[in-house]
Symmetry: D2
Subunit: 314 residues, 4 copies
């Protein structure tokens, strides 16, 4: 059965028709206004109209960045879109004449589910996805099921505290994991190095056009791929925190596989080799238990769309 998956970003939505094997048969996009929630409702109805013209659609999955209600009907809170206890499902349904199942899913959960069903984690029943982008998102599959929690807001893994009194986080707390393992952390660490060791930061600064304020994650990754020692160190430090945090999460979850996605995952082994080392060194009970494997995500940018479509079908 075909379903539509919609990945809802701050300023645009991407939608696709997804078949039972996770293949995308058709795609389209719309620009939206993050401050105008109704514009997003209309854009979703619009892409449905376009895509359903040529495909028979049984369900629509909406991947949303935010706290999603446990009954998958809407969004409790979103950091970047004007959603507060927003009944997204019903609002969209009211704009669509067809009888079609509509569900809302957290975007990181949707992306993780795509890895589980069609990507890097197809062969396991218990996995953890860590999406290292601007922040750090997560998805947990245990015994073949997506772990949603009592109120649908599980897997907010980036807000596990790893340092008491640590870096300030946008959530208002200190020491959240995503302040140590994310593209934002990478950028701030590089900017700090530009102050404490400007000579070592020369290549990163050059790639950023000479300005510490303009350093972005890809500058660091590019420098590291070239072999720049500081950039390699910065990614290794990020990887260390990735592995150490994953060891804590593993104490709770015991996954077989840890899938690392997001923009920073493009650094590949520069990130994963230090992550695996730190994970092993910090894993409780090591030597008396099998150890999870770290792999890079396989689904790319379409993961949220594909996962949301698949979850809508279930």
């Amino acid at each position: 059965m075909h379903a539509i998956g919609v990945d809802i970003g701050g300023t645009k939505i991407a939608a696709g028709v997804v078949d039972d094997d996770g293949q995308i048969l058709a795609q389209t996009r719309r620009e939206t206004e993050p401050d105008d929630a109704a514009s997003i409702d209309r854009a979703i109805a619009d892409v449905y109209a376009e895509l359903s013209a040529d495909h028979k659609i049984s369900a629509i999955g909406l991947a949303a960045a935010g706290f999603v209600a446990a009954d998958r009907s809407g969004v409790l809170f979103a950091p970047n879109i004007a959603w507060r206890d927003y009944p997204l499902r019903d609002n969209v349904a009211a704009l669509i004449d067809d009888k079609v199942t509509i569900v809302v899913e957290n975007d990181a959960n949707a992306a993780g589910w795509a890895e589980f069903r069609f990507g890097a984690a197809q062969d396991v029943d218990d996995m953890l996805t860590l999406t290292v982008g601007t922040g750090l998102g997560g998805a947990i599959v245990t015994n073949g099921e997506l772990l949603r929690g009592a109120w649908g807001v599980a897997s907010e893994i980036g807000h596990m505290r790893v340092v008491p009194g640590g870096h300030y986080c946008g959530c208002g707390h200190e020491g959240c994991w995503e302040q140590y393992t994310s593209g934002s952390a990478l950028v701030r660490d590089a900017q700090a190095a530009a102050i404490t060791a400007p000579e070592r930061a020369a290549r990163i600064l050059e790639l950023a056009g000479g300005s510490a304020e303009k350093i972005a994650g890809p500058h660091v990754t590019k420098a590291a791929v070239e072999g720049d020692p500081l950039a390699v160190e910065l990614l290794a430090e990020l990887g260390r925190w990735l592995g150490e945090g994953a060891a804590s999460a593993t104490a709770l979850l015991d996954p077989a596989l840890i899938v690392v996605g997001g923009g920073v995952a493009a650094a590949g082994d520069l990130l994963l080799v230090p992550a695996r080392k730190a994970f092993s060194e910090q894993l409780s009970g090591r030597g008396h238990r099998p150890e999870a494997t770290f792999v890079v995500a396989a689904m790319g940018n379409d993961a949220g769309m594909v996962g949301a479509a698949d979850l809508a079908r279930l």
Copy 2:
């Protein structure tokens, strides 16, 4: 259907016939030798013989402190009993003539399951049990199922790291949660206070017979119940770590209920009030999500036995 639950301790086993409602119909015990694994096998067969004489038994659940194999057939590793990759199920089965299902479960998981099925967490589908005893054990139920992980060693929650470079743990790592939230932590904190503030520690020391080395958890709890300011502070500090760690676990798991058991839970509100406060203050997304409730465990010392019996029936 009746099942036997066996709680296997270091020096004794306690066994009981448990009915479908979690009631214990009969009980018995045996002393055992932790260094002689075969003596435990025999003792289990022996209690089965005794209890099955008067009750029809369909299954035996064995609650073991250690890493339990994912197929529930044995123990990978135990800290206090001479089990290393030990085929406990088959060894016991070989000593029993009847055809009866035998399963091995982690003891904290068994106890948590008892709370979920018959105790404090009967009304929820997603819960976290935290057993604050000598160490800190845990059990996770998500969507009505026990979370066992890929290899059966999930919920080793006491080894989530809460302080990088923190207290040494017997597991060989630093900063494990159980070094901040356990009876052992309470004792060490009281002993430290006896050095830095002996005048404030007078009552606790008195209860311990005058010797800092002899301070035990119940001395602190008793002094706190009497209103001793230092003891109240020490339990509040333990409660703070309990709540803060639970907030991190909640970022991953989103439970509806957090059940606090173990010997230290006897302190009741002296522990739980500070725990709830710290939990709320550290909970990510607070205000945009429902919050888990903290309650004291209801099943007492029989929780492991009852939970193991019930899990064996499933």
Copy 3:
């Protein structure tokens, strides 16, 4: 003998004629351009001309925010003024015809010295001044002498690390004490509370005109003086870090007195009571040693001017 003290700020200088008892006999000011170091040289010569017209002056002390050379001839580096290895003494001397001693001193050292000579610390030989302003500055007097260090850059006490992996600091490192004990820290903590507990932050937000971005230290202090619970807590937390850091500094320095100055010191006991408690609780060897006393600075905003003048005379 009379000396002139000059307090050099980013956009203005304040100068005064100071007598042997630390009394200011005359004062004047000039506006300056932080990006134009020569404008500051000229302004200093200018205030000298004005003040020396009516007073016989033997020395000029220049209080500068930055790393001051060990021979007190200039500034190695300043964060807010365009000084890099800048020969401030000789540049000013070249603009003055009279033969007069000119020395450059770090501004926090100058202010601390004023407390030692004429203010809160007149009666001790060993003291530590902690200036809790935008950042955290310090001055150390040991055995009656200002501790300058091998290269003149001692007492950069705000950059003692108190939390590994802690808050980012403008210096490029993590976990510097001034990120936990300063007006900036107070503001950020209040802003974080406005996210995690907006209802509790209502009064502080009201004082800030309704906007978290506009919260300033005095809003928190005012709310605390009124009895607002959150504001009281925030100052207590700042005080706790103040006391705990001071206990670490005391392990090295063993001062008789700790003088707390700077804008945040206006909070008085709301800051100092928690600071004293934390200091006592963290002080190593407590009970076997006398303990330093915490007091509020007595010299006010003129401390830097008075101290610089006095140090120039020595």
Copy 4:
């Protein structure tokens, strides 16, 4: 002028006649009883009688492990000897007929002073000695004078807190620097590695006779000198904490030289190279200031004796 220096240990005292150049002209020893303070008084009088028979002595310096009174007359508190507010100077004087100056000094201060006057730090005016033995001791010289503090208990540098909530310390606090940089820390880290990575710890365990409980600092150092990867890592980690803590101390003290002594200093560059790297990386204001040099102590085990004698002469 000749002075006698006495290094008072728990179970023995070592005494020597020291000339103006720090040379030891004669030596002797006595066994003592740590629980019998009077036996130490008598032993000191006894070594004085022996040594003064052949040498003209003007002063006696007593190096004591403990908090020494500011007037250098006795010991406020000692961890390993039965001294509590003990008038050591007067007690010894009462047993000696000659008129001779007697002063008591903290042993780490005495050893550091010897390095300053005759050893590794002869050429500087501002230095910090770090004695990495069982614990972590320190001595501070600033502007050519020993920093004693208001009450004589400065330089208890091992109790600067480096990790909030960190390792328990015998002083009753958590996270003291000496729990990260000392022989005891090295041993515990090696024992922890024997749990988490027994295969990597094989060589260290072999040197310790196969038992983790018997691991001592020299086993780790020896293995590291042989090139054992784990031992090298453990010393590097110790060196990292040494350098990072020294960077914090330098923010306060700005020494020209950091002299590393004590048993663990025998590891030489295995300790110092990582220490220097960490120091540079953590030094606030790096690039805008000269940096302290790290060197190994030069005076060996006689440092306390020589320093105490020299300080008695002043």
